[in-house]
């Protein structure tokens, strides 16, 4: 058994609509190692959420997902039927969603959610736990920093704040003890203070479970503070991937460079507007013939307009989808 937990080759995903398929994810290659935190960064529409959902096979029915290879812990996910996949979810794979409020069943109390998850986890791990569920619930809520656990158990989701709910959600994941957690912008809807607390929880979570986390975000700084590696997505492709330090300190793709610039500007308190990358994501039905970033790229040249760049590998697992990176590397 290697350290590679997830291995994905040429993942594509799109949605059928009015007889056509609109591509969202266009050939993503990804390996995730056990226990690592991988950040996926991109603006909305870049395909990062769809990638995450595709990983757990949670896309709606009108989605079309294909891949050359999708392996989780040695198991071929492509040949797995829906029931088999369902057995993996919640047991070994889990996901945290952007909107904690909408993630809870509004008709049920917090305690019910916890109880349901305990049952699911015990069933997945084929164990029986003697501890009364209420006690377990109290303990796990304490673990995620909810001090008034006893009361919280009896409350309905709508009676809790977003931050509290995100904590509860993390508690649920904690109870499930999965090997891989996909977290889709889990802190986006929270204010700065709560966000910091939740991020700390994530770090705890990762440490306690030694689970791999795919942390999807649009915020470079958040990613940098948490992740071991970072993948930058643009228009359904990973344009740059590498160790956080490498990517952050020496962004290679012009898009990554833009993101880092923006992030630094924000951190310095400058208005981000100037530093933002001008332009918009390409329309999926009218993709440019060459590099997908070319229309917005200030460094584009002739070749970029006619040829689509392949990932150019670098040191420490670095890969960049840009002809410039290829040229820079060539002399050495």
């Amino acid at each position: 058994m290697s350290d590679v937990l997830v291995d994905i080759r040429q993942l594509t995903a799109g949605f059928r609509s009015q007889g056509r398929t609109l591509g969202i994810v266009r050939g993503v290659d990804l390996t995730i190692e056990r226990g690592e935190v991988l950040g996926i960064i991109g603006e909305s529409g870049s395909g990062k959420t769809v990638t995450g959902l595709a990983l757990l096979r949670l896309l709606p029915e009108n989605a079309e997902v294909q891949a050359e290879r999708m392996v989780f812990d040695g198991q071929d996910l492509l040949t797995l039927d829906d029931d088999g996949f369902g057995a993996l979810r919640g047991a070994r794979l889990a996901m945290i969603f952007q909107d904690p409020v909408a993630s809870f069943n509004p008709a049920k109390r917090i305690g019910w959610h916890l109880h349901t998850i305990f049952t699911r986890a015990d069933e997945a791990k084929a164990r029986s736990v003697a501890t009364p569920w209420r006690e377990r619930a109290r303990a796990i809520l304490h673990d995620v920093g909810i001090t008034r656990a006893e009361e919280t158990i009896d409350l309905f989701p709508h009676q809790l704040s977003g931050g509290m709910l995100q904590r509860v959600l993390i508690a649920l994941i904690l109870a499930l003890e999965p090997d891989l957690i996909v977290a889709d912008e889990p802190t986006t809807n929270l204010d700065k203070l709560v966000e910091r607390q939740v991020l700390r929880l994530f770090r705890d979570l990762q440490r306690r479970l030694s689970a791999a986390i795919v942390f999807i975000t649009h915020d470079m700084a958040t990613a940098a503070s948490l992740c071991d590696r970072i993948a930058v997505m643009y228009a359904g492709q990973i344009v740059e991937i590498g160790r956080t330090r490498d990517v952050f300190e020496a962004p290679s793709h012009p898009y990554t460079q833009g993101l880092v610039r923006t992030s630094l500007a924000l951190a310095r308190g400058e208005g981000g507007r100037l530093a933002e990358i001008a332009g918009e994501l390409p329309n999926p039905s009218q993709l440019p013939p060459g590099c997908l970033f070319e229309p917005r790229c200030d460094k584009a040249f002739g070749r970029c307009r006619v040829e689509r760049p392949e990932p150019f590998p670098g040191r420490h697992g670095r890969a960049v989808r840009c002809f410039l990176a290829e040229m820079e590397q060539e002399p050495s």
């Binding site: 949605f15 609109l22 959420t49 769809v50 709606p60 029915e61 009108n62 079309e64």
Partner: protein
């Protein structure tokens, strides 16, 4: 993941399409078709009383030897006319009532909406029956009764929508510019919820046809010799065992027309209510 879905989507569209087709066929039938019929809906033929369906009379003849098909077509026109008038009346009055109520708030709101709630709390057919007894017989009274039954539905929609829209900046601006409330309501507010009104109206027309038929069926219908679908059915019920075709065909005709209207109503709602459209992306 599955390709059947798409077929389903088309099929669902097809249902709406079928609704449109049926409605068009029905409208053509009660206008052009009725005009082309060789028989008159009123001329009695005492030789051919209660004749079963034949080539000459596809739906048979009634107790007066009148061609049932012709009467169904003309009656359909009458029923539709009654229902359309009633719904038009209900939508105009109800919308104005709801909008004014929401716009002014306070006592106006309390009184108008309590009245609307009250109308709404009676079973629709019971209310219509009561109104017919009070108002007396005749087509204008049927229209009035159906309109009163349907009024609160429009009032509610209008009130809810106006509540939302009246806070919009452009409405506030119009108010600051000193425009009269009525002009603001008619010019700025109502046009902004014409879509749900339209959906409700299309459903209402079907509802009105059923209500008219029900009233006619228990003997509170339009005045003879003018036929309406309900009065033809009421006649047919009188001699159901002797000439079952009269009730059966007029009943099937009304069901066919309502099928079209309902499918069409569904289609319009799907088109205008974005929440019901299948989303292209999560």
């Amino acid at each position: 993941m599955n390709s059947k879905f798409q077929i389903g989507a088309i099929l669902r569209n097809r249902l709406a399409l079928a609704g449109l087709a049926i409605t068009v066929v029905v409208i053509l039938a009660i206008t052009l078709g009725a005009a082309l019929m060789p028989h008159s809906e009123e001329d009695m033929d005492f030789v051919n009383l209660l004749m079963p369906p034949s080539l000459e009379h596809p739906f048979g003849t009634d107790a007066f030897g009148r061609d049932v098909l012709t009467r169904v077509l003309i009656g359909g026109r009458m029923s539709l006319m009654i229902s359309l008038s009633a719904i038009a009346l209900a939508s105009v009055v109800g919308t104005m009532m709801g909008s004014l109520s929401a716009y002014h708030g306070g006592w106006t709101d309390a009184v108008l909406m309590r009245f609307s709630d009250l109308l709404f709390a009676f079973p629709s057919f019971v209310l219509a029956l009561f109104l017919m007894v009070v108002l007396g017989f005749g087509t204008p009274n049927i229209i009035l009764a159906i309109a009163l039954v349907y009024l609160p539905i429009f009032a509610r929609i209008a009130r809810n929508m106006t509540m939302l829209i009246k806070e919009e900046p452009y409405v506030q601006a119009a108010r600051l510019m000193g425009r009269r409330p009525l002009s603001i309501i008619v010019g700025e507010i109502i046009p902004n919820f014409s879509a749900p009104l339209l959906v409700q109206a299309s459903i209402g027309v079907a509802f009105g046809i059923i209500l008219e038929a029900g009233l006619s069926f228990i003997g509170l219908g339009v005045q003879p010799p003018t036929p309406s679908l309900g009065s033809i059915m009421a006649d047919g019920r009188e001699y159901f065992s002797r000439g079952p075709w009269v009730l059966t065909f007029s009943g099937l005709a009304i069901s066919f027309a309502l099928l079209g209207l309902n499918l069409l109503g569904d289609g319009i709602r799907d088109l205008t209510d974005p929440r019901l459209r299948e989303r292209a992306a999560p």
